[in-house]
Symmetry: C2
């Protein structure tokens, strides 16, 4: 790698996102120097996307830049935190003209989402290696109002912020599964350009008793809430918010695993007491079940039968 | 990857390092929740080590766990920051018995160094992929006392915290270069178990006018200080601190590129005004040259000739 190529890459990453007054020193020194909020907790989350695992070589780089940041912002949303800063570590197999175009697209997608949520890229590392992208995000939330996984209580309602199964169906279609005809652009967007539910996350402060973002599949992620809270749940599958194309696929193939274990939804799944039921409906949240004292997850199919989902979901042995 | 393997990995990473009172919520939720110091700046740095680039498949996993954290702590040292928290994103090609042993060794090396410096592992992500390790560290430093790269002034002395060239010579030996006989354990330790100069970094607050850690080679890293400060430098190569084995190699091969561009030294290179000269000598720092108004880096060989080092050093097109 020549020095001029090094400088070119630097140019792509030296000023991504929004400039912020709480960044004392950004990219270009040994460390970034940042000024946290004195009265709030600092929320941090780190996630890696690997080529061939989380995305394909031909995927649109701009969407990938968006997604690499979005999946991390989704973790902040699930804590009720307001985003502030990001760091980016990227491994690249090498640099040529095509790769530089790819980098420009990636940077553009990352930048647009970062600006939309007031995030500043403050540090990074670029190394040679198989293509992979690690982003860490940093945000703020008042300590006592942070949404956690361990507060669900018997009788709480279980809610979803939006539809599940779209991304999983888009992935199946890419893998060659026949999902019928139609316009798949919305489905593709759900897979490649997830929207972090940050506004809702903030509104759930003081309302949700527990929350998580649905990245590995609804059953697996709700399972984390149940396990950490020491409770169980009954889901009413007829109440699951599904897009028409997913609903048709589920009906045709009797495949409830798609919306329950598909993953990559990046909606919030949370629990809240029934006093908030009307307010949550106003916010567009879908009540899909309730928390039970009896442990385990029971899913009631529309025909009244019980469906036992594979709770491992899309599991990368992640530990965060 | 089975659920039990997932749990096994979780066990290795769920409580690494020292427990700290400023960690509100550690590993196991969407985000870690942390309590920064109200009066100090938060210093963050992220670095990736890739198998086949930064380390070899046969390398000792415990040393690698040490090094993955050490290279990041070295960045905090170069800012004069005191370390607090770390996050770890690791991509693994898969898990078998051998890999689990590897993980146990890695975790052990990471843990020992983290405990030594009071660092708590607060979050992470584990994914499938070619083996690579990304660590982000977080520390504290009073804003006005943070060491940066841009404060070197004409007339300042240039200092090194310790010897350069050992790691590069160890690497050459691994690559089959004949470096003579002897005991190479110290040399190997310098390559595989670098010691972050955190105590010195704190002592340099208010003393050093600029600082950087030497990871890509002395010439390249000092070059960053010179560029950011808008100055030049003259180095006296006879003043470079070299181990006997490196000194002998340099003399025999007339190879000044080894200590100047070799990389992986993880010593601090810094500038300071002459009023601190005696104090810095007491601290074991080596004065190796001085800052000049004239830009560029000039190295005077012991024979009085000028040596022009390749300043690109060990360059991964890093941008932090």
């Amino acid at each position: 790698m020549s020095v001029s190529e090094f400088q070119l890459i630097q140019r792509y990453f030296s000023s991504l996102g929004q400039s912020r007054g709480d960044v004392i020193l950004g990219i270009g020194d040994d460390c970034a120097l940042l000024r946290p909020r004195p009265e709030e907790a600092l929320a941090v989350s780190i996630d890696t996307l690997v080529e061939g695992v989380h995305f394909s070589p031909g995927d649109d780089p701009e969407s990938l830049g968006h997604k690499a940041l979005a999946v991390n912002l989704s973790d902040l949303a699930a804590c009720g935190a307001e985003p502030a800063w990001a760091t980016l570590a990227i491994a690249l197999p090498g640099v040529n003209t095509e790769r530089l175009q790819w980098l420009a697209g990636f940077a553009s997608g990352f930048d647009a989402l970062a600006r939309r949520y007031g995030v500043s890229l403050v540090g990074g590392d670029t190394t040679r290696g198989a293509l992979s992208i690690t982003v860490q995000v940093h945000g703020f939330v008042p300590d006592a109002l942070a949404l956690r996984r361990d507060g669900a209580r018997e009788g709480d309602g279980i809610y979803l912020s939006g539809m599940v199964g779209d991304a999983a169906l888009a992935l199946r279609r890419r893998q060659g599964v026949d999902i019928g005809g139609g316009d798949f652009s919305d489905l593709e967007a759900r897979l490649h350009r997830p929207e972090p539910r940050l506004a809702l996350g903030s509104q759930l402060r003081g309302v949700a008793t527990a929350a998580i973002d649905v990245s590995d599949g609804l059953a697996a992620d709700l399972g984390h809430i149940l396990e950490r809270s020491g409770v169980g749940a009954t889901l009413d599958l007829s109440a699951l918010p599904l897009s028409p194309i997913v609903a048709a696929f589920v009906t045709r193939h009797d495949d409830w695993a798609l919306p329950l274990s598909g993953g990559d939804d990046y909606e919030l799944c949370f629990t809240a007491s029934n006093q908030h039921r009307a307010r949550l409906a106003q916010l567009g949240c879908h009540r899909i079940g309730r928390v039970t004292a009896e442990p385990g997850l029971r899913c009631l199919r529309p025909d009244g039968e019980i469906f036992a989902p594979l709770v491992s979901g899309y599991e990368h042995f992640r530990h965060d």
